[in-house]
């Protein structure tokens, strides 16, 4: 019983990282940009989320505003990296897949470089600790699973309906979808394709940076050079899995985090289990299987995904 409750509690808490990153990637892809650099942006976000509390306070308990400052710095850095990626793939119209790999290596390498020279070795921080909501957390089982998290978790879950509303109910969301589906038609209606794509990259970058900082502040509470460890790529895959819909992406994030949490929990509860590498593989294999059996969803995606738009070109 403990095992199940623990796994589910941690799933609810840790799903935030994947969910936010994936939601950001969804904004990018809705506008037609395939941003494989998510991993790199998350790395930089994770690093800044660690750096600011660590340099200001040290390894001890940081006051809440310092942690928030870390989150804000990570978000701003995410926006910057997203815009840099935009310059490469929108202004220069570079192929997005390869540029994404470049962004990933750049982000991970840069975070590693700064980490080694500003922090040195692996250090842990207290981060943002979870708190129990009075009354609600006393509900048996469900109370622990749902109501023992830090405020950021609830804020993050609030972003699901917000993202849905923005994408499907606001003029800006409509423009984003138009730009990702048929940029030429959008352009002919006076929508500035370049501008909308840059904006969506800024939003996506901000969310990726935030997700990275959440990872270090609330989940891992430490940093090392490969802390993201494929989460950025899984976030990209989740967008396909969730068929570009915020709610489905949210469910997908829960599923994948469950697979990840399950394997760490099995290692804790069943220490004699010899073959834990196979458990670690599980989420990654799950991604491949899901992508393979979900190919119909490829057609649900934005029609102009991955295609640079050139206004001067004739079709």
């Amino acid at each position: 019983m403990d095992f199940i409750v623990n796994t589910l509690t941690l799933t609810v808490r840790f799903a935030v990282t994947l969910m936010i990153a994936s939601m950001g990637e969804m904004f990018n892809q809705k506008a037609g940009i395939f941003n494989l650099g998510c991993e790199g942006i998350m790395s930089m976000g994770a690093f800044l989320g660690m750096l600011i509390p660590f340099t200001m306070i040290g390894a001890g308990q940081a006051p809440w505003y310092v942690n928030i400052l870390g989150l804000v710095a990570a978000t701003v850095c995410g926006i910057l990296l997203g815009l840099i990626f935009g310059v490469i793939v929108i202004t220069f119209r570079a192929p997005q897949g390869i540029a994404g790999i470049g962004m990933q290596m750049f982000g991970v390498g840069l975070a590693g470089t700064f980490f080694r020279s500003y922090i040195g070795g692996t250090q842990s921080i207290v981060g943002i600790s979870s708190m129990e909501i009075p009354l609600l957390s006393k509900i048996p089982v469900l109370g622990k699973i749902l109501f023992t998290h830090n405020p950021l978790v609830y804020f993050a879950y609030l972003l699901v309906p917000v993202a849905w509303y923005v994408i499907f109910k606001t003029p800006w969301g409509l423009k984003v979808r138009a730009v990702g589906t048929h940029p030429r038609a959008a352009d002919s209606l006076g929508i500035n394709v370049t501008k909308i794509r840059f904006q969506s990259l800024a939003v996506g970058g901000a969310m990726a940076g935030f997700a990275g900082a959440f990872l270090t502040l609330c989940q891992a509470k430490m940093f090392n050079a490969d802390i993201i460890n494929g989460r950025g790529f899984i976030a990209v895959a989740l967008v396909y899995f969730g068929q570009w819909h915020p709610v489905k992406i949210f469910l997908g994030a829960l599923l994948f985090t469950f697979a990840q949490t399950l394997q760490t929990q099995i290692q804790i509860f069943v220490p004699k289990f010899q073959y834990y590498e196979f458990l670690t593989m599980l989420p990654y294999i799950l991604v491949i299987v899901v992508l393979a059996f979900n190919r119909k969803s490829n057609r649900l995606g934005p029609a102009a995904l991955g295609r640079p738009f050139n206004r001067e070109m004739r079709v």
Binding site: I101, F106, G109, Y284, I288, R295
Partner: protein, 365 residues
């Protein structure tokens, strides 16, 4: 004959790109409190200090070259293989099994056998994303990355349980040393350069011939250039996608076997050392052409070797090299687009060459 202004345009774009890369690199170095010129000087000059350091560059160049050749094949066929890291691990596992257990075979048989085993294992592992892409439309970018993580875990499991060296008491997971008959002989005493360089040279020729002188290569390039047109022309695109991915994986697997038999001597955790991703950079830097990949891999061999020197000689963390590689990819893809853009070339001509047209004509006359 290319026009003067076209050459001038391309050269100036490349020069600006190189300067931009150096500048961003310099900013990063300053940000971590390093000495810019000293750092760059160490990166460039250390390999040429002695024959020993030079051969250190060459042994890093060998796996890079082999992997980049494979990636060039797959990229030309329209599928980007960023799973070389995982394919390399699979190759290492297969080669380790043979090289540690079949020590009684004569060297002339065992060495090629191990390399082939590595190639087959890597090729099979490359088959998976190729097949997934061709038949189920799974993006190869995602599937290869995921397979990298799967292969890494599988490799860690192998060296921890089935292939573990029973005599190793420290608890570090590693395989037994490869048999004497399975090691690649070092070419010069006191230098780490090994026979693997011959395999690399042979593969350059083989891949060049494959890509540019055979029907297979032609069909692959056609499929990569425009899959629709190729299909219209009667080429079975998905078949050549899979074949190119298998070749690409086989190259990575062989690179793994060579790294095992020539450098490490046993399978240890993390032994691919990022060669798989660097291979992508090398292939791009070499313009996906087997002959250009040779100098490109040499250049990146220098960069990878500099990680060692940066660690010893400067305060700049070796992770800088990874950031630089990412930066180089970003700049290359942007530059390629600028170079192939006829509009900006025309603008460049009008700006800088319009006035001199008359002089040129006079000269030619």
């Amino acid at each position: 004959m290319m026009n003067n202004y076209k050459i001038a345009y391309k050269v100036s774009v490349v020069v600006i790109a190189v300067l931009a890369a150096l500048l961003v690199g310099a900013i990063i170095i300053i940000a971590v409190g390093g000495d810019v010129f000293n750092t760059y000087w160490i990166i460039i000059s250390m390999p040429f200090m002695s024959m020993r350091t030079f051969s250190e560059v060459l042994i890093r160049m060998i796996p890079l070259l082999i992997i980049a050749l494979g990636i060039a094949v797959s990229s030309r066929s329209g599928i980007i293989n960023i799973g070389a890291e995982g394919q390399m691990y699979m190759g290492i596992i297969a080669a380790t099994v043979l090289a540690t257990n079949c020590g009684s075979l004569p060297k002339i048989i065992l060495v090629p056998l191990c390399i082939i085993a590595g190639g087959v294992a890597g090729g099979l592992y490359g088959f998976i994303p190729g097949w997934l892409k061709a038949k189920l439309e799974v993006s190869e970018l995602l599937s290869t990355v995921m397979l990298n993580y799967v292969a890494t875990q599988f490799f860690n499991f192998c060296i921890r349980v089935p292939l573990l060296d029973p005599t190793e008491k420290s608890g570090t997971p590693m395989s037994r040393r490869v048999a004497e008959n399975a090691t690649l002989t070092r070419l010069f005493p006191g230098m780490s350069l090994h026979q693997g360089i011959f395999l690399a040279v042979i593969l350059v020729v083989v891949i060049y011939i494959l890509l540019f002188k055979t029907t297979w290569g032609y069909k692959m390039r056609a499929a990569g250039a425009s899959s629709r047109a190729a299909r219209y022309g009667g080429i079975n695109v998905s078949r050549y996608l899979i074949i190119s991915m298998v070749i690409s994986g086989a190259c990575a697997g062989m690179a793994g076997a060579v790294e095992l038999m020539g450098v490490q001597g046993r399978a240890v955790a993390g032994m691919t050392g990022g060669y798989g991703f660097s291979g992508v950079v090398v292939a791009l830097f070499g313009a996906l052409h087997p002959l250009w990949i040779v100098p490109a891999s040499f250049f990146f061999g220098i960069l990878l070797y500099s990680q060692v020197n940066l660690q010893i000689l400067t305060s700049v963390p070796p992770n800088l090299v990874k950031a630089l590689q990412g930066l180089i990819i970003l700049i290359i893809v942007a530059v390629q687009m600028v170079i192939s853009n006829p509009y900006s070339m025309e603008r460049f001509r009008k700006r800088f060459f319009a006035g001199r047209k008359k002089q040129n004509i006079r000269k030619e006359a």
